[in-house]
Amino acid sequence: MAFRSAVITFPGSNCDRDMAVALEKVSGEACTRVWHGDSDLPEELDFIALPGGFSYGDYLRCGAIASRSPIMQAVIAAADKGVPVLGVCNGFQVLTESGLLPGALLRNSVIRFVCRDVTLKVENATSLFTSGYSAGQEISIPVAHHDGNYFADDATLDRLEGEGQVAFRYAEDINGSARAIAGVLNAKGNVLGMMPHPERAIEDTHGGSDGRALFESAIKGLIGA
């Protein structure tokens, strides 16, 4: 059964190709590239990815302008219908700005741009995106961001933790994120936003392949095999 995925490219996206390559390598199927100005997505998509980068030069707030672009209305509608959406780095910022995920990403508490491999702890190993990991497993995934400091009010954070919506946590504090949260799921579990870049760790030539299981989980969960 075919796996139909799409990667959205905004002006200033720079991890869109990496994301498409990861999806293609893991699924063995071509990934459709969609431009931000389009108002329609390809039909019957199994998976949508919002890539990292600096959409619209991070003007106003990171992800703010992209989240109001024409294609995002289609992405929001698809997510509401249950289509899985993965947002990485700037893609995570677009998801919070669009309201598909709770909270916001603030400037790193350390002020500096953080660019290195970090250890993540898998908190929820039952979601579509994370079933290939085990709960509590530690994985190494690269991060590269200036605004990855996850913020939400205490009531929201309590709810996220109580409902199993925290997908990943940082093993050490790298950016000041509330409760060390690195990745968040929506209530239905079909939208995941995360600052670390799993698409940059899918084969050993990348220096590590701990991100591969995320794509394998999703593809397996969606089309079997």
Partner: protein
């Protein structure tokens, strides 16, 4: 009509930029500054017919992120 929209982080939201600016002021030898919070100022030139509700909507939908920010609309006399 000129309208100024002041956007600031809500109380309690960490402001690393404000903290760095505060630190830098101290480094320059200015004393007596207790805290610095950084914000944004938008200056809009709008038609006189634009309603207060529309201005409010602009702030809520785009200019401010209501999860982390507050806004204040100020109409400037011509």
């Amino acid at each position: 009509m000129k309208v100024r929209v002041h956007v600031s982080l809500k109380p309690g939201v960490l402001d690393p930029q404000g903290r760095a600016i505060h630190h830098s002021l101290e480094g320059l030898g200015f004393s007596g500054v207790n805290d610095v919070r950084a914000g944004r100022l938008f200056e809009l030139d709008v038609e006189d017919g634009v309603s207060d509700e529309a201005l409010d909507d602009m702030c809520k939908k785009l200019l401010a992120n209501m999860v982390i920010e507050n806004y204040r609309i100020e109409k400037v006399a011509a």
